[in-house]
């Protein structure tokens, strides 16, 4: 029964190609939006859960677990407090702690975060499915003037082995606080990981210390920059100074002096990545950290916190998905409206079809088929738009958000969505089809117009 109808439906749609084209465009855009939201969602989830693995605990100053995870792993936000170096040494020396890698954050280089750590970082850090960090070229830093950069840093700034770079104190990327006198040299470029590591400049802890010493020393000679730098310094870099229970004082000088005192000890650390000797010890050590009396610390299980974090943004994600589903619904509703509106001027067409042998069921089928064809064309147009958009935007998204969106053949999920759109399109066609069916029976062969 569909054989004679398909050609008719196609020709009839072509006859109304402007409205049909707009309908396909509407559905296509809505489908592209739906598939796009899902692609970004799954890409984000993947890069999220792939960011860290094989690290049993992350230790930081007491704060929210999510916040600790965000700044230590994702380089999002800042630590309000640090951990003293003694605490790090203490925790590292505990039994059942297999390894402990200190992280010191708070500085930047042209918009990329600078991470102070030890060369153990490169041997213990794992991402994705327990993949170690690999060097695209070069080797870990050997001294305080060496730097290892992530793949995005290398791409964005055009750096390679031997390039020199200066580190700004604080996170402002404008560069007014660059230390021209203390350049770093790139000794290694990491292979791409699809994690925030790609957007990180790694230097040794000693280097971080030197930056801060250098900053202290440089102060008097450059008065023009004082306030700005101090301000940044207060905001970002040396939380222990504020945390130390100093009475609030308006003058920056005094605070700075105080900091200087603090820096008699090695500088504060932002977080520690811990590996344990046996999984069973994990919870013990976590408890031990959380009840550590010298300073308030927090230990989190990265996997659990990742899940928690993902769940907390899950509502937003579901809302986005729901909105895109509704947009698709709106597109199909638009198609139904157009189809219904055209029915009146098509009464004669239907009557002619009946006079040449089409049954009311054929008329019904013709309209459902037309909707189905529009929905199918819309679904395929949406898929094409998705790939076109991904092709254009993927490098931009990678560069701006560090989010790697894979361009794959459509997944089963996507095919299912497309199938459902076509099915929904056919169902939406039932309403005008029923109307046409009734008209046809009422009109008979002669339409009185």
């Amino acid at each position: 029964m569909t054989a004679p109808l398909f050609g008719l439906a196609r020709r009839s749609l072509f006859n109304r190609r402007v409205t049909a084209g707009l309908t396909v465009l509407t559905i296509g855009l809505s489908v592209a939006l739906l598939l796009g939201v899902e692609t970004v969602r799954s890409g984000a989830r993947l890069s999220f859960t792939n960011t860290i693995s094989s690290t049993d605990l992350i230790v930081g100053a007491r704060t929210g677990p999510t916040q600790l995870l965000l700044y230590s792993v994702f380089r999002i936000g800042n630590a309000t407090n640090g951990i003293s170096y003694e605490s790090y040494e203490e925790v590292a020396s505990w039994p059942n702690v297999a390894w402990a890698v200190p992280l010191s954050l708070g500085d930047s280089h042209r918009g990329f975060r600078v991470l102070g750590t030890t060369d153990e970082y490169f041997s213990y850090y794992r991402y994705g499915r327990k993949q170690p960090l690999a060097f695209a070229e070069g080797a870990p830093f050997a001294d305080a003037h060496d730097a290892v950069i992530g793949a995005d840093v290398a791409d964005a700034l055009g750096y390679s082995i031997g390039s020199s770079l200066v580190v700004a104190h604080g996170l402002d990327s404008l560069g007014q606080t660059d230390h021209d006198d203390e350049p770093f040299h790139v000794t290694g470029v990491l292979a791409r990981t699809g994690t925030p590591i790609d957007r990180t400049v790694h230097v040794s802890l000693q280097a971080i210390e030197q930056i801060h010493d250098g900053w202290e020393d440089g102060m008097p000679s450059r008065p023009g920059h004082d306030i700005e730098r101090e301000h940044e310094h207060d905001m970002e870099a040396e939380p222990p100074a504020i945390e130390d229970g100093m009475p609030p004082r308006p003058g920056h000088d005094i605070e700075r002096e105080h900091e200087h005192d603090m820096e008699a000890e090695p500088l504060a650390i932002t977080a520690i990545l811990l590996g344990v000797t046996s999984k069973l010890a994990t919870l013990d050590i976590q408890r031990k950290v959380n009840t550590y009396e010298v300073e308030p610390l927090l230990a989190i299980l990265p996997g659990a916190t990742l899940q928690e974090l993902w769940d907390s943004i899950g509502t937003l994600e579901s809302a986005l998905l729901a909105i895109s589903v509704m947009v698709v619904g709106t597109g199909l509703l638009g198609m139904m409206t157009v189809s219904l509106a055209a029915l009146n001027e098509r009464r004669r067409e239907m009557a002619i079809l009946r006079s040449v042998g089409a049954r009311p069921a054929h008329i019904f089928g013709l309209l459902v088929l037309e909707s189905g064809i529009l929905a199918l064309a819309g679904a395929l147009a949406g898929l094409a738009m998705l790939y076109a958009l991904l092709g254009v935007l993927q490098p931009f998204i990678q560069a701006s958000f560090g989010l790697h969106l894979t361009i794959d053949a459509p997944s089963l999920w996507q095919w299912t969505v497309l199938g459902l759109v076509v099915l929904a399109g056919c169902l939406a066609g039932i309403i005008p089809a029923t109307r046409a069916y009734r008209n046809t029976l009422a009109d008979g062969l002669i339409v009185q117009t």
């Binding site: 006859n15 002619i352 009946r354 042998g357 049954r359 002669i446």
Partner: protein, 258 residues
Amino acid sequence: MGLTAERDNPRLESESYGEGEKALPIVAVQDLSFRWSVRAPYVLGIGELSIQRGERIFIEGPSGSGKTTLLNLLAGVVTPDSGHIVILGTDIASLSGPERDAFRSAHIGLVFQMFNLIPYLSAIENVLLPCRFSHARRAALAEAGTTPQEEAHRLFSHLQLDSEHLLRGSVTRLSAGQQQRVAVARALIGKPELMICDEPTSALDADAARAFLQLISAEAAASGATLVFVSHDRSLAGMFDRTVELPKINQPAGALGS
């Protein structure tokens, strides 16, 4: 449902319309009454109307005399409230909706007033439409040893439509007379036994209307179809074998004295 069944089905042929029984009418209407709804007055009440095979009959009546309703009944688009409409030995009033649709597409060719054609199909595609929907018509052509395309072209040349260019293009570029001839070709393809025309000349001037009428009666005769022509235009009556004045046979008031 195979539409060929209509021609072979013993039930449908129970009154056995065959070569030896030429006296049996092709259309026999009896005690027909019809109203559009239960509360509406009757619009048709016809005691008897019979049309012989091969006859060219002119049914004449002013607007509102029930011509259109009668056509809808003959074509099996609507069913009477009572009475019989026996066409080719089958009482179509007793058939189901789909059976009537199949019967119509197999045995009846229809030509209407203006705008008879599907605007988004070419002339040739319009003519082939009945073959798309009716297996019976395809089968009839196959039996005659021809294809729908060949038959369409044969009809076109008989109806003096021979510009291939015009026939492949949009039908909306054809003149009114050309469009009506295309509609005739469409009604006649596959040799239906009955051809019903409803005011097909209303858009033509008098000369064109006469020329058109000559063409269709010749073509109907050539394909052996019985021609039922409905119009309000009495001046055309002379070109037919017989004229039936609808107001004279139609007594809807009491719907057959009931």
